[in-house]
Amino acid sequence: MIPELGQFALVVAFVIALTQGIMPLAGAARGNAVWMSVARPAAFGQFAFISIAFSVLTYAFATNDFSVQYVASNSNTALPLAYRIAGVWGGHEGSLLLWALVLTLWMIAVSLFSRSLPEDMVARVLGVMGLVAAGFLAFMLFTSNPFDRLLPAPPDGRDLNPLLQDLGMVLHPPTLYMGYVGFSVAFAFAIAALISGQLDAAWARWSRPWTTVAWVFLTLGNALGSWWAYYELGWGGWWFWDPVENSSFMPWLVGTALIHSLAVTDKRGSFRNWSVLLAILTFALSLLGTFLVRSGVLTSVHAFTSDPRRGVFMLAFLVLVIGGSLALFAWRASHVGASASGRFEPVSRESMLLTNNVLLVVATGTVLLGTLYPLAVDALGLGKISVGPPYFEAVFVPVIAPALFLMGVGPIARWKKASLPEIAVRLRWALGVSLIIALLLPFALGQWSAPVGFGLALAAWIVTTSSISLWERVKHATTGASVWTRLTGTSRAFYGMVLAHVGVAVMIIGVTLVKGYGSEKDVRIEPGDTTALAGYTFLLRDISNVSGPNYLATRATVEVTRNGASVATLYPEKRRYRTQENPMTEAAIDAGFTRDLYVTLGDQVNRTAWVMRVQHKPFVNWIWGGSLLMALGGLLAASDRRYRVAARAPREAQYAAPARGPQVTPVLEVKA
């Protein structure tokens, strides 16, 4: 009975979503304040009913209700409660429900934090989000119902994929979806701007914090996914150019471009059409990512489902959303966006940001090409090919490297018109220091090689140029005399930018050093034996059998010492889950600021000996540390005063304008 309640809640949510998608948009178009006012209550209603549905499914998992098909396929009585709850989004249907729940969370956020926005803008934004929600709910109700019954109920479930039984599964999908779905807000703002014709600096200022926060979540989601793959998959890689990873990397790349483009639109009024196009593209790639992962067109650990009906529905939805919004863009953009773009010279901060944008979009295009190409070749019957890491590394790095170089120059350059000789003078120290670091530091770390030198040069360049821009900002600040007042007078947005850019540098250092100086060793080891790697000694103390809640494991006890001092005791395992046949490798990691020690247990060779792999991974944690800095930078920027102050301004202006009574003035064709 209870699962049917969830089903019913979904149906109600669908009806509300349709209402939310139609009435406020129609109201905004006709200037009907009553219809527009439906938007906020509808958003809350949707949130309430989808929360009910989500709770019902969670309850079914918690109570092992295997009469629900989805629970039976993704859970098991022996599964610990935390993973049973994470199992809610462990499969196709549940992750769609999570998608919808997250979408309503963003709707609520928009409803709450949009009090200063014109009513018609809010109505349009929530209306567009309502239409997106309606699409997803329809998809769930018609092809992927999480509450479908399985009668008679099996005595036990099939269990969650052992790879997913991990803390990463609890954290990674919700964070990633917060990012993916968060871009729907930027998308809705862009569509609202196209419809209303109100595509101006105020629009950019409203969209910016939303876009930045979504980007922060996507950054964290990707970092969590990478970190999870690193410790869970057992061979110590951190990025595999897997189609599923690419699916969430592409919206991140375009989202990064969008953040920078919106900054220009906000501050200078330029790039309006470009910002709108990027907002559409970012959300389109988020949808494409969901489609690629969820439709089962990819063969990878993440694709749990293969059902052509679902694929066709998703494809149709994708074509409708992307095609529709691009058509709207083609129709409206020239009317609303072209006028009075701020003037700037071919050498200026604007032009550099635009170049960076183009490079980021081209980089996204190459990733998209590599991800979809094998699918296209297969679909056309031209055979099967693989596009793996060697391809992506070969094509991605040359495109992104100039963008990373420009990251150092852009913040230094003046708006409107910059002078290259002047920039060169201001950055000469940064260039010198970067080159010296690139030439000398690799020798100190081991041996010099071109990729290491190149990576370190880029990282040093970003750090030194960021320092120069910070220093110049403080030097030229007009407020206050003391350094402290100048520092505190500088905006959070600026610090956010510096922090995020330094985060990129930190990440480059991690990537470069772990690739350049990482080492590993496979040994045949017996209890009591030792092996040495990178100055560490690994002693296999013993091997024992342990039994987990739903698996049996062989666990090695490995004592790590360095120059006689104890460093860590590690317990790598080889697990055999009861419901699944394949043994799982559970790596043991001693994490550190400058290095990780990564130990995995291989096969048993004879009665006493085992194969063991030990890996030394210098600075690997800087990869995720850098991502964390980027996310913190984004948060700092999103919390800048200008959004709170500026957000209030339009409302006041509106009241100041001759208003037709207390009701809302529909803003139609303002710019056209």
Partner: protein
């Protein structure tokens, strides 16, 4: 060698469970140099049984077989190229993580360069055009402003 000695001495000093002497574990393979070559090559091949793993990374039975096959062929003195050709003949282009350059994959390999060129051409075009249109617009605005200023100016003169 030195670390090995140090480790040996230290382990002696600390004493081991059961009093047994620790010995340095043997490499998993009899020929570590060969093994490195095998794994380097295996890293370029896709494990056909698994989900997006290379032959080097996977422990699936087929991956282990292929690694043995590569090892065997390397022992017989075959070069990397020959072994890769053998694998492609047996499993098709699908086995290569780095797709070959041929008629089917031409667009894949040239695509990024084409995209970059298109992007840069579009960029230069826009930069130059924006500059031109902005100048025209600005001069119009300037005209209006000049006219306005002149009006005000003449007004003041009249006052």
């Amino acid at each position: 060698m030195q670390t090995r000695m140090i480790a040996f001495v230290l382990l002696l000093a600390f004493g081991l469970a059961g009093g047994a002497l620790a010995k340095e574990a043997a490499p998993a393979s009899d020929d570590p140099v060969l093994e490195r070559r095998v794994m380097a090559l295996a890293g370029q091949l896709r494990c056909l049984q698994c989900q997006n793993q290379s032959i080097a990374e996977s422990n699936a039975p087929l991956a282990v077989d292929i690694r043995n096959e590569i090892r065997e062929q390397m022992r017989r003195g075959l070069g990397e190229r020959e072994i890769i050709n053998f694998m492609v003949a047996r499993y098709g282009d699908f086995v290569l993580l780095q797709p070959p350059f041929n008629a089917t994959t031409m667009l894949l390999w040239l695509g990024p360069a084409l995209l970059l060129m298109a992007g840069l051409i579009g960029l230069f075009y826009r930069l130059l055009r924006w500059r031109a249109t902005a100048e025209v617009q600005l001069s119009e605005a300037d005209d209006a402003r000049t006219a306005q200023l002149l009006q005000f100016g003449s007004g003041k003169e009249r006052l």
